[in-house]
């Protein structure tokens, strides 16, 4: 059980750091084309920022702000984004995940592919973020006999 620890320094530092961590995670997701990074790494960093929030403010407080059901839905939506892009390729008459045929107003097929990659990276990022938080919350709140909120 993670309880709220009354310490101004921890809370203030977390409050200051978390926006930057989240900004960095979005940079990692979006910049995956040009540098090491991508959906997984960015998603994990984004998830870690929320986990930091939970550690600093305690489970009770964060339970009010983060709902497990919403997290599951985020994860499903992220995966739907990924598999939906693949299925869209199917509908356009190409093979599954063949991004080249995506209906985008770009002439170069290679660039369309890059856009397809960006789309699935965002989907992966969403899913990984949500799943990481929900694994953490499920394990951390087990002792208190966690109920679905």
């Amino acid at each position: 059980m993670i309880i709220e620890y009354e310490n101004v320094i921890i809370k203030t530092v977390c409050r200051l750091l978390i926006p930057f961590i989240q900004l960095f995670s979005i940079y990692v997701i979006m910049h995956g084309h040009y540098s090491p990074g991508g959906g997984f790494q960015g998603g994990v960093i984004l998830g870690a920022s929320f986990i930091l929030l939970v550690i600093a403010y305690g489970l009770e407080e964060s339970r009010r702000r983060i709902s497990l059901k919403a997290l599951t839905i985020y994860a499903c939506l992220g995966l739907f984004l990924y598999s939906g892009i693949g299925a869209l390729c199917l509908l356009m008459g190409a093979n599954y995940l063949d991004y080249g045929r995506l209906p985008l107003p770009i002439s170069s097929i290679a660039t369309i592919r890059a856009m397809g990659i960006l789309g699935i990276e965002i989907g992966v990022g969403m899913a990984v973020m949500a799943i990481m938080i929900s694994i953490f919350l499920a394990i951390a709140s087990y002792e208190t006999g966690g109920e679905d909120g």
Binding site: I117, V124, A127, A138, E147
Partner: protein, 90 residues
């Protein structure tokens, strides 16, 4: 139990060491993995996917289906933890 474990470990280790003899040395630029499939990923990544980071282009495009499987694995783990550890409100 411990002797059995030690025996299994030593057997596995022996098998692994036996296999090392025919392996390419560390960093060998002429080893088969460097010559067979991967050159296309390196040389064509800009031309075919417009993505300078080859790891991303292989991960999300050339072998994008593996990544879908991998995301599914982590989704499985998430739902599994919720299934095992959460009890729904009665």
């Amino acid at each position: 139990m411990k002797t059995f474990a030690l025996l299994a470990v030593l057997l596995t280790g022996g098998l692994l060491i036996y296999g090392v003899e025919d392996m390419p040395g560390w960093g060998d630029p002429n080893s088969p993995p460097s010559l067979h499939v991967s050159p296309r990923y390196i040389e064509k990544t800009m031309e075919e996917t417009d993505t300078p980071d080859m790891v991303t282009s292989v991960l999300a495009d050339y072998r994008g289906y593996d990544t879908l499987g991998e995301t599914t694995v982590i989704f499985t783990a998430g739902i599994a933890c919720l299934l095992l550890l959460r009890r729904n409100r009665q």
